[in-house]
Symmetry: C2
Subunit: 201 residues, 2 copies
């Protein structure tokens, strides 16, 4: 007799996979502890490149299917070559992507079907802070606004907002996050490679 596999997808998300992950973490909370990590290498001027190959979660290092590469540069007015988005645009991308994923996945779990999700996001940043022109001007974003347009039952909108708010990037930003910076001299040149069993920083 042929085996049958029933896949229960909402919004393109396999609820069986998600429920398995949730159940496993409920039974063993340590499985939920993740350490995401990336490496960055300065290329020249304002151009630098990040590589992402694996993450720690479910008590082990998990390789991505491929090594991802992301580039950052600055526009000409900031003495860059404009070869890639700049870091503060990358931040808006991470926030928009995270709010969208959170909204879509949590809606799926609750059986809320979505047909389309689009957003525009913008942030206010006064360069006098970053450039050191005025110490009274904040160096970071002061306000970020995101406006979603969602094709779904009109009665879902307030609920969807509360689901988007599960977003880890959103919570990192609104609550603030500790960031520890260490800088040490590099003795000799070596390539940034892909590596397993990485030590903790």
């Amino acid at each position: 007799m042929a085996e049958q596999q029933i896949i229960n997808k909402v919004n393109g998300i396999d609820l069986g996979v998600l429920q398995s992950t949730v159940s496993a973490i409920q039974q063993e909370p340590d499985l939920g502890k993740c350490r995401f990590h990336v490496r960055n290498k300065w290329i020249e001027g304002n151009h630098n490149r990040t590589t992402i190959s694996s993450f720690y979660g479910a008590k082990q290092e998990n390789e991505h299917k491929q090594v991802f590469e992301l580039n950052a540069d600055e526009p000409p007015v900031l003495a860059g070559e404009d070869q890639a988005p700049n870091p503060v645009e990358h931040l808006l991308n991470s926030l928009a992507a995270c709010l969208t994923t959170s909204l879509v996945a949590h809606a799926a779990v609750r059986g809320i079907q979505l047909d389309e999700v689009e957003s525009e996001i913008e942030g206010d940043l006064d360069l006098r802070g970053f450039l050191g022109i005025s110490k009274d001007v904040p160096k970071g974003y002061t306000d970020i606004r995101i406006k979603f347009k969602v094709k779904s039952d009109e009665n879902n909108m307030e609920k969807l907002k509360s689901l988007a708010e599960f977003s880890p990037v959103y919570n990192s930003l609104i609550n603030g996050t500790k960031v520890d910076i260490q800088i040490e001299p590099k003795q000799q040149s070596r390539d940034v490679g892909v590596y397993k069993n990485r030590p903790r920083l």
Copy 2:
């Protein structure tokens, strides 16, 4: 008689261009007020795509040389297809890129030559927050650590750390940032295009 142009570059950064921008903003502070903005579109499941085409600064909308596209997805354990970095990896990329750019550019202005800059960055995130398993667990990153290795005079290390701290993404994260979310129903389908004279959100 042939014209001569002297370009003064440190760390690959044209100091003349940067100094022109600083002088212009010193004389007219409003030139420093920027609004960066991106658009995001849900593709399917945990996959979504951001497009970046322009930014507001120097009292006008400035087109990038090209439209940039960034994708986000999730690994299989979170019911994704692992086609792109996930949003919290994108956040680490934006922070590493911004700290690196800030370090390199501010070093250039101060005449500090750098030969190499590399970094590893990692962040702790407990999925019980995002998945709604425990209300007591923070949804965002609790701690982020970045370790730089810099090939430069060993006496520069403490100074370089203070220069990296000009980073707008770093300051947005450590100080926290207001994020306003609006969600409204979308009436009919239309493509996300590139547009000028965009209204403010």
